[in-house]
Symmetry: C2
Subunit: 196 residues, 2 copies
DNA sequence: AAATATATCGAGACAGTCTCGAGTTTTCCA
DNA sequence: TGGAAAACTCGAGACTGTCTCGATATATTT
């Protein structure tokens, strides 16, 4: 559940496990503070570990991100399912979109990673992204069936909107992300005139 | 007009001018090919110039970007003014937004630079961004006055939408940028129900 | 063609990514 | 409990990139 203690894949030596966890903890702090392009060398330094050790545990920056995010992503997908029986399909959709944007905002630069992971099957985040996308699809389908969003709105549209809005918010000193999300969601609505 | 031959600000020695232009040409090619975070060292190498020379002409990556983009940006602002008397204020706005997105798409990573430049007064790109924003403001104001977009839509919203859509398009293998732009613009319209 | 102004060069300081073999711990099991 | 095998850590080093600066070279001016 908590991102601080994800399970390594197998039995590990005690010292290895300790280092693994310290690295992850430092990475979480560093990423939260400085965004997803923080120096891996510095994470190793903070965790008081040689950088070779870091690379032993996490061969790439992406591997580190994946270890950090997996559980959170699954939680987001679960939230989507919980919102499925919302009395207003559109409002359920909107609420989930806001939750998803908040999730994307925890680390600067995360939106790009998520946009790429959803298309990249070699990414370990891929499965989690697919689950998130599926959750979005459920909400979109219901809102579409209820006639509350346009028939051509898709789950990838929602996914892209959320990530793009999160991105915009990161670039701006004003809460531009929320504004964009609101406008985008309204653009999804049936009441919006379809342009030729 | 053409980005290949922008005017250096003053008289330059002949060799300096030659290097300046070669650097710019290589930078344009490299940026178009690899995006805005291309290696400056490599640009110097390609232009057959020591990297100190590159830094002499363009102290920062941003300075290089500005030299590359200034004219284009001003052209975009001009396009905005031309579209001002469009018979349908909304359509004029939409047409300009599409042109602006196309502009942002010429170099990968450019959207982020533009979002930052508009808020950063020390950026060489700042003035150009302000001009673009002003052009957007003209179009938005007219559409607002005509009752075709919601009264709370601002030029920064439009600017953010364009850049965010361009960003989304870069991340995706499908034309997600255009879709997002369309939905966002529809979200701007008066006909979209305002959510509580 | 000398004097002056202007540029270029490239070494070097520094930071980051990533690899690899030597050396160190832990674990296991006799 | 002790020692071999397995697992892991270490950190030097190869590489790339950013950026600076003084020595050197080249254009321009008179």
């Amino acid at each position: 559940m908590d991102i601080g203690t994800p399970a390594p894949r197998r039995r590990m030596r005690a010292d290895a496990r300790r280092n693994y966890e310290r690295l992850l903890a430092e990475a979480a702090a560093a990423f939260a503070e400085h965004g997803a392009d923080f120096s891996l060398e510095e994470i190793a330094r903070r965790a008081r570990v040689a950088n070779g050790t870091l690379y032993g545990h996490f061969p790439t920056r992406r591997a580190l991100l994946e270890a950090l995010l997996g559980d959170r992503m699954r939680a987001l997908a679960a939230t989507g399912e919980e919102l499925l029986p919302h009395p207003s399909p559109f409002d359920g959709l909107a609420a989930w979109a806001r939750a998803a944007m908040a999730h994307t905002t925890i680390y600067r630069g995360l939106g790009a990673a998520l946009m790429q992971a959803v298309e990249d099957e070699t990414s370990e985040l891929h499965t989690a992204c697919k689950a998130v996308l599926a959750a979005g699809e459920g909400l979109v389908a219901r809102a579409r069936a209820a006639g509350e969003v346009r028939p051509d709105v898709t789950a990838p549209d929602l996914y892209a909107l959320v990530n793009a809005a999160a991105w915009a918010g990161e670039q701006s000193s004003i809460p531009q992300g929320e504004r964009l999300l609101t406008f985008g969601l309204d653009g999804f609505r049936t009441s919006a005139t379809t342009r030729g």
